[in-house]
């Protein structure tokens, strides 16, 4: 078990290193000089000024030196300094992180709370009219783009119920009510596809498990159906849902980029979006690496939890 955990962790770190390399190389390969961009407004900029700024930002160094100094900083948690705000990137990310995490977790919670019962119902009433309709609803849930769903919710909640969101963002520790009122619609829109995916996955895995021999044995011994479904079949069919949630977490993280910009939520999504537009390389680099790290970490966690729950996969 410990060997497995170490192997998986090392592999995660390797992928993280590869992400960093990939992003770094792409950023440096793309034309568009940040120094000229920053000085573009001022007419009559001399070459000396350009050089001075480049030197200040460390852009006059060879690419390999830049990469090395970045990596050695990143290991200690220093992701460099923003070109725009001159603040440490790590600080900017840490400041924006809570909103994104809250949004992501709310979306996941929504998807599990609704997706699990729907999946179970679908599996129990296999091939009934209810099951068919729920399946169609799930496919629809996967197909509807979350940004359109969010726009629809804003529009029709306000037209039909006269309800509109608070305009100014508040952190949960400042004003929990306002915070949740702002987060509700984006979390709902973001969680819908994960919810649909969870219910689909649970339906098919539960169908598979309920047809297996051990469930037949449990049933033949006279166990009540409730116990069969929730305890025996449920435990075994929830495993693939874990893996699915880990993978869905990536989609949810990505989805925050769009939803944060629609709802003006000050999270990492809006940070990376504005930084990309301003070519604030260090912030973009830091954000992509951070997103990758969170995604890798979550899936590592899923794999480890999985190995604890299901001892069969440890040595594979």
């Amino acid at each position: 078990m410990i060997g497995y955990a170490i192997r998986r962790t090392l592999y995660g770190l390797l992928v993280l290193f590869l992400i960093t390399t990939f992003v770094f190389v792409v950023l440096r390969l793309i034309p568009g000089d940040v120094v000229r961009l920053q000085l573009a407004d001022a007419p009559g900029v001399t070459q000396a000024q350009v050089d001075a700024l480049a030197a200040e930002l460390g852009l006059d160094q060879p690419v390999f030196t830049q990469f090395w100094s970045f990596i050695s900083g990143a290991v200690t948690g220093d992701l460099g300094t923003s070109f725009e705000t001159r603040l440490p990137v790590t600080e900017m990310i840490v400041e924006r992180l809570p909103a994104t995490l809250e949004l992501g977790l709310l979306a996941i919670m929504f998807s599990v709370v609704l997706g699990v019962p729907l999946g179970i119902i679908s599996a129990i009433r296999h091939n009934s009219f209810l099951d068919q309709s729920l399946r169609l609803v799930s496919v629809a849930g996967i197909s509807v783009p979350n940004f359109w769903l969010a726009l629809l919710l804003i529009t029709y909640l306000s037209i039909w119920f006269g309800w509109s969101q608070p305009l100014v963002y508040a952190a949960p520790w400042e004003n929990l009510g306002t915070n949740l009122a702002i987060m509700a619609i984006p979390a709902l829109a973001l969680g819908t596809s994960a919810m649909a995916a969870v219910s689909r996955m649970l339906r098919s895995s539960m169908l598979e498990v309920t047809q297996s021999n051990f469930v037949r044995t449990v049933r033949s011994r006279g166990a009540p159906e409730r116990l069969v479904i929730l305890k025996h079949a449920g435990r075994n069919s929830i495993l693939p849902v874990f893996t699915l949630l880990g993978l869905q977490f990536g989609n949810i993280l990505g989805g925050t980029v769009i939803l944060e910009s629609i709802f003006s939520i000050p999270g990492m999504g809006s940070l990376i979006f504005t930084s990309v537009q301003m070519r604030d390389y260090p912030v973009v680099l830091g954000c992509v690496i951070f997103y990758g790290a969170v995604f890798i970490f979550v899936n590592l966690l899923v794999d480890l939890v999985y190995a604890v729950i299901d001892p069969r996969i440890r040595y594979s």
């Binding site: 793309i30 197909s143 726009l151 529009t155 990505g254 989805g255 980029v257 769009i258 890798i296």
Partner: protein
């Protein structure tokens, strides 16, 4: 919504031989009969197929179907609600929403088709090579690169690449392909690993076929079924991804009509003119739904378990 259903790959791989055996390469029934069987067994799949046909016809014939020029601005008719003259109303520049939605289908379809062609071909090639040489250093290198691409959340990767390349349809296709390649690579590699252990491949090797001949003659034909399933599901994902990029303003550049951009333009006037954002979003959702349904139906149809 999700840009790329990360589980698509698994689902597609399950499409063929969930019980671990390959369907023997027997003579197949004529294609027409297979299509009939598909229509009978998968009513949703048939409906999806019809929807997709309508969608393609819409995209192909939009210059004749559209009542107005999608780019023509009418200062006198701004934000008109749906009416017999403008079935879906007009937007904030007085452009006809119906015409723009029809042309948007063309943009969406073109981007997705080119993405599938570029990303699909590269992904299948890499996956085939990787699977055939499974376990060797070639395989290892390819898989590490793919893992890296898959470990970055898809929109973040798209945003990063598309924004750096600049907004244009070509660059959107390049950025989206980066999402498609790992998906096709994964499924192709998995199938190849399985196929290369088959007796008929062993036989081919024994009579001295070159690796190239084995790949093209025995590998690829056996890959087609799961790849069709994957292709349909990925196609749906790419349509959403294209509009997500356009929504963020880094995909299809204006004034080309694109569903994503129409959505973001409409989001400014949701409460006074909801139709501007409603109809393009509906068109997008329905077409994505059709491709997802088709993919599901094909998977069920090809799944040997379903025939029992």
């Amino acid at each position: 919504m999700s840009i790329v259903q990360q589980s698509d790959a698994d689902q597609a791989r399950d499409a063929v031989s969930t019980d671990g055996s390959t369907p023997p390469p027997v003579a197949r029934p004529p294609r027409r009969r297979a299509l009939l069987r598909f229509a009978k067994q998968q009513p949703f799949g048939l409906a999806a197929l019809i929807l997709i046909t309508c969608f393609v016809v819409m995209a192909a014939l939009c210059p004749w179907l559209a009542p107005y020029d999608p780019l023509e601005q009418h200062r006198g008719s701004i934000m008109l609600p749906p009416s017999p003259e403008h079935l879906m109303g007009t937007d904030d520049l007085g452009r006809d929403v119906l015409s723009r939605t029809l042309y948007g289908a063309r943009t969406s379809l073109l981007v997705a088709v080119f993405t599938m062609m570029l990303g699909g071909v590269v992904g299948i090639l890499l996956g085939t090579v990787s699977g055939y040489f499974g376990g060797s250093w070639v395989d290892t290198i390819i898989q590490r690169v793919m893992d890296t691409l898959m470990a970055i959340p898809s929109i973040v990767l798209l945003l990063f690449v598309a924004a750096l390349l600049g907004p244009s349809i070509r660059n959107t296709v390049i950025a989206l392909s980066l999402l498609v390649v790992p998906q096709f690579n994964r499924v192709t590699r998995g199938e190849m690993l399985r196929i290369r252990e088959e007796t008929f491949v062993e036989a081919a090797r024994a009579i001295g076929c070159s690796p190239w001949r084995i790949l093209t003659r025995y590998g690829l034909p056996n890959l087609l079924a799961p790849l069709f399933v994957l292709g349909s599901l990925v196609f749906a994902g790419m349509m959403i991804a294209e509009s997500a990029l356009s929504f963020l303003g880094i995909g299809t550049p204006p004034p080309t009509p694109s569903w994503g951009r129409m959505l973001s333009e409409g989001s400014a006037s949701l409460e006074i003119a909801p139709w501007i954002a409603f109809y393009p979003g509906l068109a997008l959702s329905v077409s994505v739904l059709a491709f997802n349904l088709l993919g599901d139906a094909m998977r069920d149809f090809l799944d040997p378990k379903q025939h029992r």
